[in-house]
């Protein structure tokens, strides 16, 4: 009786049920009365007696109505569940009956759902999930502002000492750039990532601790040698000891570990050791020493605007009292999460949009191929219709079939997402902010499930509506051909047009990004990146007092490296290109005070040779330059052009006002320009050339020569030099840890986000192209199969193969052209959103548009031509007999 309800066109409401009950009661009373009359009662008596036997008539009738409604409700419920269960069973049978269609549909759905889930997992971890700190919405980054109201990313400790008393702030803390700290684990020196922070850092950030706690302001001010380490390091180097009994040792001293920050809550991400330092106006008086990041926690209920206004007032007060305070024209704030995520937000949003397009294409594709199978299903649906199945029932059946495919696809898609996330994180994890928080949790599963259901419904709706509409007619008699004749498969065609339009969007976007990628990579970076690097920080009593000791160390390291066979040039710099770089204000003699300034590097004379930077004019540093002689400087061409246009800069004087201003407020001294070198892109290929100045390291302020990097260029690959460099560095000072790497790796890192985005978008565009081609092929093959009789008749009447070919190709072309036109129109509209990601390419770049259209057209033609050729090879006799 499972299909009993198939024959009811509509399930009734209460009134209908009541009426039915009344009819039944009427019948009963009439039959009873008739029998009683036969036994000799008068008609009136018989009717009364029948009612009497029924019980208290009105009560009984009301109770029977209630019983009938109850019966109806429970039957309806059972029907619904029973039909659902049977539909699922039926859908499974259908799926196994056509394995090719099922496999293809499941595979494409898995691809679409997998891609969407992957991007959602990333977007959720990076953009949507709150930062893993207490009340993260109250955390803000605080910046100074220059006279042009540009935010200055870093602040000076002196300014913070004034800002920290602001009413809007509950607490605030300085933290440094990630630095490298040499620590001693067992007998070996290792370098770990460290942060120098102020005492209130953990009070401000309030992360989760795996053990212990943060240090307090009092401990720090008392100089008690406390540090906090990461859970990562706690597990690998300290045996996850919950009592924290082992101290952290450096070559200089040892520190008590008071706390362990839980994995995923480390800020800045990747920090292993947080080392506090007291700050006072005595230790840090210089307002121009903008070396610190500043994070603040707003008091509850205080808005960022309020805080910004208050901090700006304080900044203007500072400037009023000290005209050298060039970064105190105001203050600005930014939510901490925004400052962490930065430009990745743009990439991620774009890619999320892209995967939604891919998912739509997938749904359209499954829907189109489902329509293509219509002939196979037509007869079955028609039989069920003629047996009385309601259309809603068939729609439900077809929807369930598609949702089932999507749910299976979703399960496979979860695996795809899991695998691709692992791949993305291992290749690009370092370049994705908050990558340490990416995980596939219950939310991701829920999302994947929801997307599967939606995708199934999307893919199923059109086939369900379309097929059942046709099934309603009596298609049995016409052998299933009514569909083709009546419908011309308009639904299938529009689905394929939609696929093509979406594919145009993705291909155009991919083309734009690929062309941007090529123009970025094609730029001249201005130096050789096949260079090995060795970075060291000179700490401990041995080096801290004596500049000459430091020079001696660097020179012996340079000497050792020069003796490595195959090494051609060795240089030295405190800040290397593609590394952390100091950009600061400068004074140019005979020039108005300048904005922007220049990148400042202290370098050795071998620096230019190691990087193959050409000398354009003047000379480089030589043996006559030294600590006692006139201070000299080499500038790049951009700096020469900016400050001395049309003149020679040789002999002119400049001053590194902020970079050389001493920690005690001592002003910078004048430097005489001796040479001009070629331009480099110090921040990587994405950014423009900026003015740079190179100060001879033996003449540089002492605090600019303790952390330096040696650059080594050899004849082969730079990476092959690394083991030997590490060995020789150990020979020079075994207690000093040295980080080695190559500039090529750094260059790759600066391009990583672009590489990732471009490759993902290209991959998705490729998938879109493939699916669109499959869609065209499927729909046209079906159309040809449907028109077999017509084509055969034409052939029999004398149409030649080229004419038949033309017929089919024209039908296909119509679909393609509609899709292309819609796609191009949408692309015109949408590509502007990509503008921020494009380099030297307009969002309406004709080459990208024409290329995308051309590729799609070519692939579409290939998909059209196969079924078209099949049409021309028809043997009319066989085709007509087959009917």
């Amino acid at each position: 009786m499972r299909y009993r309800r198939l024959f009811d066109l509509r399930l009734g409401d209460n009134a209908r049920v009541d009426a039915e009950m009344d009819r039944e009661i009427e019948t009963h009373l009439a039959m009873r009365a008739a029998d009683l009359e036969r036994e000799g009662m008068s008609p009136q008596q018989a009717r009364d007696e029948a009612r009497r036997r029924f019980g208290n008539f009105d009560d009984a009738r009301a109770r029977l109505h209630a019983a009938a409604r109850h019966r109806e409700a429970s039957m309806r419920q059972r029907d619904r569940f029973g039909s659902f269960a049977s539909d699922v069973r039926y859908a499974l049978r259908q799926a196994s009956r056509s394995p090719t269609f099922t496999a293809l549909a499941v595979a494409t759905l898995a691809l679409g759902i997998g891609a969407t889930t992957t991007m959602f997992t990333l977007v959720y971890a990076v953009l949507l999930r709150p930062l893993p700190f207490a009340h993260p919405e109250r955390l803000v980054k605080i910046y100074g502002a220059d006279s042009a109201k540009h935010a200055i990313q870093l602040v000076s400790a002196a300014d913070w000492l004034d800002w920290r008393h602001a009413q809007s702030l509950e607490s605030s803390a300085l933290y440094s750039f990630p630095g490298r700290l040499g620590i001693i684990i067992g007998d070996s020196a290792v370098r770990v990532t460290s942060e120098t922070v102020t005492g209130a850092f953990f009070k401000t950030i309030s992360p989760r601790f795996a053990a212990g706690r943060g240090f307090t302001n009092d401990e720090v001010d008392a100089g008690q040698g406390r540090v906090v380490i990461s859970e990562r390091m706690w597990r690998s180097s300290f045996g996850a000891d919950p009592r924290l009994s082992t101290p952290l040792r450096t070559s200089a001293r040892s520190f008590t570990i008071v706390g362990v920050v839980a994995d995923g809550a480390d800020f800045p991400a990747g920090t292993d050791v947080w080392m506090p330092r007291p700050f006072t106006l005595a230790t840090d008086p210089g307002r121009l020493n903008v070396n610190w990041n500043l994070v603040g926690r707003l008091r509850p209920g205080v808005s960022m605007e309020t805080a910004e206004a208050e901090l700006s007032t304080i900044a203007r007060g500072i400037r009023a009292g000290d005209p050298t305070a060039l970064y105190d024209y105001g203050a600005s704030t930014q939510s901490l999460s925004e400052s962490i995520v930065g430009p990745a937000s743009l990439y991620l949003r774009m890619l999320m949009g892209v995967v939604v397009c891919v998912l739509l294409i997938v749904c359209a594709n499954v829907a189109a191929s489902s329509l293509g199978r219509a002939a196979a299903r037509m007869r079955e649906l028609a039989v069920r219709t003629s047996l009385g199945a309601a259309r809603s029932r068939l729609v439900q059946q077809l929807l369930i079939e598609h949702v089932l495919l999507a749910v299976i696809g979703g399960a496979v898609g979860l695996f795809i997402a899991w695998a691709s996330l692992r791949g993305i994180l291992s290749l690009w994890g370092g370049q994705i902010p908050r990558a340490n928080e990416v995980s596939m949790d219950a939310r991701v599963f829920t999302f994947a499930m929801a997307v599967s259901l939606i995708a199934g419904a999307l893919a199923g709706t059109i086939p369900a509506m379309r097929l059942t509409r046709v099934a309603l007619r009596d298609v049995l008699s016409s052998g299933g051909r009514t569909f083709a004749a009546g419908g011309r498969n308009l639904a299938g065609s529009s689905l394929v047009s939609l696929e093509i339009a979406l594919a145009v969007l993705l291909l155009t976007g991919a083309a734009l990004l690929i062309r941007s990628f090529r123009s970025v990579v094609g730029r001249d970076i201005g130096f050789d990146t096949n260079v090995a690097t060795a970075e060291a920080m000179l700490t401990g009593p041995r080096y801290s007092r004596d500049s000459l000791r430091r020079f001696a160390y660097w020179e012996s390291l340079i000497g050792e490296f020069e003796r490595i066979p195959a090494v051609q040039a060795v240089g030295l710099a405190n800040w290397i290109p593609l590394g952390i770089t100091g950009q600061g204000f400068i004074d140019v003699e005979g020039h108005e005070p300048t904005e922007g300034g220049a990148i400042y590097r202290t370098v050795s004379s071998g620096f230019f040779a190691a990087l193959r930077m050409p000398l354009v004019a003047g000379r480089l540093f030589d043996a006559n330059d030294g600590p006692g002689t006139q201070r000299v400087v080499v500038v790049n061409r951009a700096m020469a052009t900016k400050y001395w246009p049309g003149q020679t800069p040789i002999g002119r004087r400049v001053r590194a006002r902020s970079q050389e201003a001493g920690p005690n407020g001592t002003p910078a001294s004048w430097l005489t320009v001796i040479g001009v070198v070629g331009d480099v892109r110090g921040y990587g290929l994405e950014t423009d050339v900026v003015p740079e100045m190179y100060v001879y390291y033996r003449q540089a302020p002492a605090w600019r020569t303790n952390l330096m990097t040696v650059l080594v260029r050899g004849s082969g690959r730079a990476s092959t030099l690394l083991p030997e460099m590490r060995r020789r560095a150990h020979g020079v000072d075994p207690h000093l840890a040295v980080d080695v790497g190559t500039l090529d790796i750094r260059l790759r890192h600066t391009l990583a986000q672009r590489t990732l985005t471009t490759s993902l978008l290209s991959g998705f565009a490729g998938i879109a192209l493939l699916l669109a081609a499959l869609g065209i092929y499927g729909v046209l093959s079906y159309a040809v199969a449907q028109r077999t009789r017509e084509l055969a008749v034409r052939a029999a009447l004398g149409a030649r193969p080229p004419q038949l070919l033309g017929l089919v190709v024209a039908a296909g072309l119509r679909v393609v052209v509609v899709g292309l036109a819609c796609g191009v129109a949408a692309a015109f509209w949408l590509m502007r959103m990509l503008e921020a990601l494009l380099v030297e390419v307009s969002p309406l770049d004709p080459i990208s548009f024409v290329g995308a259209i051309g590729v799609l057209f070519a692939v579409s033609m290939a998909a059209i031509i196969i079924p078209a050729l099949r049409a021309t090879r028809l043997d009319p006799m066989i085709a007509l007999q087959a009917e």
């Binding site: 019948t27 009439a30 009873r32 036997r53 019980g55 019983a67």
Partner: protein
């Protein structure tokens, strides 16, 4: 069930069982069931006609019976009830239980008083 008035659960169960048995001969409408039961029991089963219909609704709701409108020999429209597969199974199981039960009760009651 809120609509059940019958105070005697035994009677309710019995009525259901009797309906199942009656319908095992073939589809019948409500009045036919009522007269069939009256004749077979010689009127000893004092059941309101409405109680019978209550039972029919309840049993249909539980899937023991199914119903369809049909035409009587006197050309009336009547709702015909018939056993479903699960109704048939229920009849078999309940009859066995009932016979075992009555047998043991009967055997106790038939012990001659001393």
């Amino acid at each position: 069930m809120a609509t059940d008035r019958d105070a005697l659960p035994l009677l309710k169960g019995t009525l259901d069982l009797l309906i199942l048995k009656t319908l095992s001969w073939g589809p019948m409408h409500g009045y036919a069931i009522a007269t069939w039961l009256e004749q077979r029991s010689d009127g000893t089963l004092g059941v309101d006609d409405s109680a019978l219909y209550q039972a029919l609704q309840r049993m249909e709701g539980r899937g023991l019976l199914s119903a369809e409108w049909g035409t009587t020999e006197n050309n009336r429209q009547a709702r015909y009830y018939k056993l479903t597969t699960s109704g048939r199974q229920r009849l078999k199981a309940e009859s066995e239980t009932w016979l075992r039960y009555t047998k043991s009760v009967t055997s106790i009651l038939s012990i001659a008083n001393r």
